[in-house]
Symmetry: C2
């Protein structure tokens, strides 16, 4: 399910709607993602009393509404924002003691609640700022099966509620998640789920969110694995879906068990197992239908899927209907326009061609060919007159002259955005962002950067992949081959090529990957086989571009370090890796 | 002392230099601030192995260098970055297990070490991302006095090493800090130090950093309080200083004590008291000199001091020598130019007057009068030709037309910055930033925003205060009175006034304070006496301006919520406080 942050009513509507569909499909238990009622992550909204109270009210109202609509029999597990009422305010504790919670809804009321125990505070996560930790494991008997429920990070870290699931004798471990996409994370998730299922000795159901939220893209990938770790069912990715699975689950023991039982949780804490019975009687035997197992996506397909969903949701959830971007005739803006057309439809994509005295003839004709193939709205605004008006006053030279052209273009597309209400898409790629090969308030200006986290090497790979998909489907390739084949140029000075200032992109991108993603220092980079001179130069470029990166628009995150929340150096920083000399 | 992040050698030089001065003043113990060798905060540099190792090497080298320069006898306490070697990597633990550490340097070697126990992870702090926690309290005998040492947040939170200081029988509690400035924080610090001194039953020395680091301004405010909480000595603020104090401290007990002793620390952890003897023999009696007690600053003086230091250090530490800003004739740019002149000297301040067809005659003449009074470099660049070049192509109306003028101005000053190497100062104030009353890539463009965290009401107050200071010193007031008196206007359309779009600033700023700083919801704001209609309108404005705020340059932080790391809402966010209807 694809909730929207802050849209409590809209999210509750979706919960009711999908519960109805699940009921129609004969489900005995329905589960929704982490914090589905509020959307996720809510950042500092978690610290606002009025927002926490609205979440609590929405939860109670949703329980009543499900019952009023005849769905009260069907237990529903949802994530929401709650707060701890006991305990005092302490310095360093989040204001109001918010909880990242889940609730079981049944018969018009909240039958059980618990809160996330392991709070991730790394990468894109800041949960020690926002939540206090939970210390309970609800085990809820549904149709005679004991179902334990935990939230996201509780599955990833050792100890805590998942570690007591086996001792609690659960027949199903249900995990609700808000787990953002990263390349190849689906493989890691499947392995993790299989391992935890074996540890818990029971079937494990993993329910993840779908949709874009600022930099994050939730990819779904919901799945069920058996007690032996075997994959039983899997939903498609990057799309909402009702995954229905008939499971053979063990009957709960019939001897009476304590309603509350504290258990050592292997991480220095104690988790209280809290038992609730909703229905003790097993479902009468019926013929199970084999559940669907969506095929895994290959690498480029999943990246492209993440970029399209990221753009679509950023546009839609921020109240825009159309986008605009500059189209230079180069590969970056070509790919961005193609992603945009796939995300919001070609009729909502407006491109502007902004030729200058340095633009080559093929740039304009290649851009026009792309526009024609995809059926975009295009407008040409020559920038020479505007550039000359500045030049008469400022007489810029060198980099200042190059930057001027880039900024004049940004003034044009920002103006068209303000006039016509389009969201500006920024067309820079990750290799540029890393090295600072862009103009502040020029090509880096806009509202969303679809390929902000995509290296130049991958820009080419995705462009080829997208064209191949079209060919395989009997369609015209959306991106003219000339755009893919030509050497990259910013066209800000006569005959300029990217390789005048930067190494070949395959060499650069491999080095960036080791420096940025793996945080290797100078010596380690050279030991890994990178050219020593290039290492020195690229480290200087990357470290010097921190300010520009902080001013860059958000864009869909596809790697562990997308230059968002997850890699943040001081701007004021004299550190340079010690050089060999 | 004012270290620079990443400048390990430069910071070590400063430690040696100030130690020499302390030795010359006859000191028996010298203390420097938290992480003084690396600068603070280092953000993701903490996660880079090569940086941690460089910090460790710098520490050892500094110890040897002090000895080589004849300063080995004098115990020196410094903060630095270390890492834990024992223990395994775990998911969610910072890579490499970095420690925010302190070391005692003596006789050319490291005599004792410990690491910060309480890691702040709120407001501007993210220390759960960067550090693992320490669990030791070093008690070092110097001249027969037992000195316990802890780091910053350890003083603020209950439990941990400070709570075992009394049981450890320390005669002096030494706290090294990197505690950023906030309005009136000096009062809170003094109360806290007094309370902890009474709890520990000993004298407490509080050593804080000075200097600007991106958004943070460390204000110094180093002080010493007696066991009864009485203020004994205090250094001036916003300036480096050697605070020398003769103290009467108790002799350590002569009976032998265990080298290591675990003590329950009142926060669920155990702290090991670790004893080291550097010198057991008391200093022979001498006539003490009463230490200086710098007077407290009044509110406007401390804010102005923070802004000037923030600008000076951002310019200097980022390798700039001069600044440029637009000068409109209004109060915001007038105050920014004045702060800049006080920070880097009038000869390094370049202003550009950018009159348009909507600029009034008095705007230009008032700006020229300010330039003359302060001796700034000024240049006039009329923008009509440039604006018209865009207008011919785009025919913008309404807000798009207003934004165009603001963006053309930004292109001019960014161009001059690129051409001449000046840092661009952005002149927007906090009231504008809160409500989104600014143009993205227009007036909000630049490298540093000196009054980003200053409300419009305080812009006036600071301008008056600065003029009064000049008058009191027999100088010409730097800001022409006309600029202070005239009604504020963006001058982007004919006869425009801020009050056309916004309420009077005293009303607006009071509401913003309750909504932003205190996080009150709609109902609570109305209950606090704010006009209901205005509350609805301002909430909409503030929540809708999140994207603009994220694109804003950094600026000196003077309040708990400066729209930096400390107040961060999702961009994609449908939450609106429920309205009364």
């Amino acid at each position: 399910m694809n909730p929207t942050v802050g849209d409590l009513e809209g999210n509750a509507d979706l919960v009711v709607e999908w519960t109805r569909r699940a009921a129609e499909a004969g489900a005995h238990l329905v589960a929704f993602p982490e914090m589905v009622l509020t959307g996720y992550p809510v950042e500092d909204l978690a610290l606002r009393t009025s927002f926490v109270e609205a979440s609590q009210r929405t939860l109670e109202r949703t329980a009543r509404r499900l019952a009023a609509e005849g769905l009260g029999d069907l237990p529903v597990v949802v994530g929401y924002l709650d707060r701890r009422t006991a305990g005092q305010m302490r310095l360093g504790q989040p204001a109001g003691s918010p909880l990242n919670s889940l609730a079981w809804l049944h018969d018009g009321r909240v039958a059980a609640r618990s809160a996330k125990h392991h709070l991730p505070n790394y990468g894109v996560f800041d949960e020690f700022r926002y939540f206090v930790r939970g210390d309970r494991l609800p085990v809820v008997r549904v149709a005679g099966v004991d179902v334990a429920t935990v939230i996201c990070e509780d599955l990833w870290q050792d100890g805590g509620p998942v570690s007591v699931t086996h001792a609690a004798g659960a027949g199903l471990l249900l995990v609700i998640n808000g787990s953002p996409y990263e390349r190849s994370k689906d493989d890691v998730r499947l392995e993790l789920a299989a391992r935890r299922a074996r540890e818990a000795g029971c079937t494990l159901a993993y329910v993840n969110m779908v949709g874009g939220q600022d930099e994050l893209v939730f990819d779904g990938d919901s799945m069920i694995v058996g007690p032996d770790g075997e994959l039983l069912a899997r939903a498609p990715r990057f799309a909402e879906d009702l995954l229905v699975a008939d499971l053979s689950l063990p009957d709960a023991p019939s001897d009476p068990q304590p309603a509350e039982q504290p258990v050592k949780a292997g991480d220095g804490t104690t988790i209280t197992v809290e038992r609730t019975v909703l229905s003790a009687r097993p479902v009468p035997p019926y013929e199970p239908v084999p559940p669907p197992v969506a095929p895994a996506l290959d690498d480029l397909a999943e990246v492209y899927g993440a970029l399209v969903l990221g753009v679509r949701d950023y546009v839609r959830k921020n109240g825009f209907r159309s986008v605009i971007c500059g189209l230079s005739g180069g590969i970056d803006s070509a790919l961005v326009a193609t992603i945009a057309a796939d995300a919001v439809g070609p009729d909502n994509v407006h491109v502007v061609l902004l030729p200058s005295r340095h633009s080559s003839g093929h740039s304009v004709s290649d851009a026009e060919e792309l526009v024609k193939r995809q059926g975009l709205h295009a407008r040409t605004v020559p920038i020479n007159d505007m550039v000359e008006a500045f030049e008469r006053e400022l007489e810029p030279t060198g980099l200042a002259a190059e930057n001027l052209q880039a900024r004049v273009r940004a003034v044009v597309w920002m103006g068209l955005s303000n006039q016509d209400g389009h969201l500006v898409l920024t067309t820079g790629n990750k290799s540029e962002l890393a090295t600072g090969y862009s103009t502040l308030y020029g090509d880096s200006a806009g509202g969303y950067g679809p390929i902000k986290d995509v290296t130049k090497s991958m820009v080419w790979a995705l462009s080829r992949w997208r064209n191949e998909q079209a060919v395989a489907a009997g369609q015209t390739p959306p991106i003219p081959q000339e755009i893919i084949d030509k050497p990259p140029s910013a066209e800000l000075s006569p005959g300029q090529l990217d390789t005048d200032s930067l190494p070949e992109y395959d060499v650069l991108d491999a080095l960036l990957d080791d420096y940025v993603e793996r945080d290797l220092g100078r010596d380690a980079l050279i030991a890994a086989g990178h050219d020593a001179g290039l290492v020195e130069r690229v480290i200087r470029l990357v470290d010097g571009a921190e300010y520009k990166r902080r001013q860059y628009p958000p864009g869909p995150k596809i790697t562990p370090k997308n230059f968002g929340r997850d890699r943040r150096l001081p701007i004021t920083n004299r550190w340079r890796e010690p050089s060999a000399g």
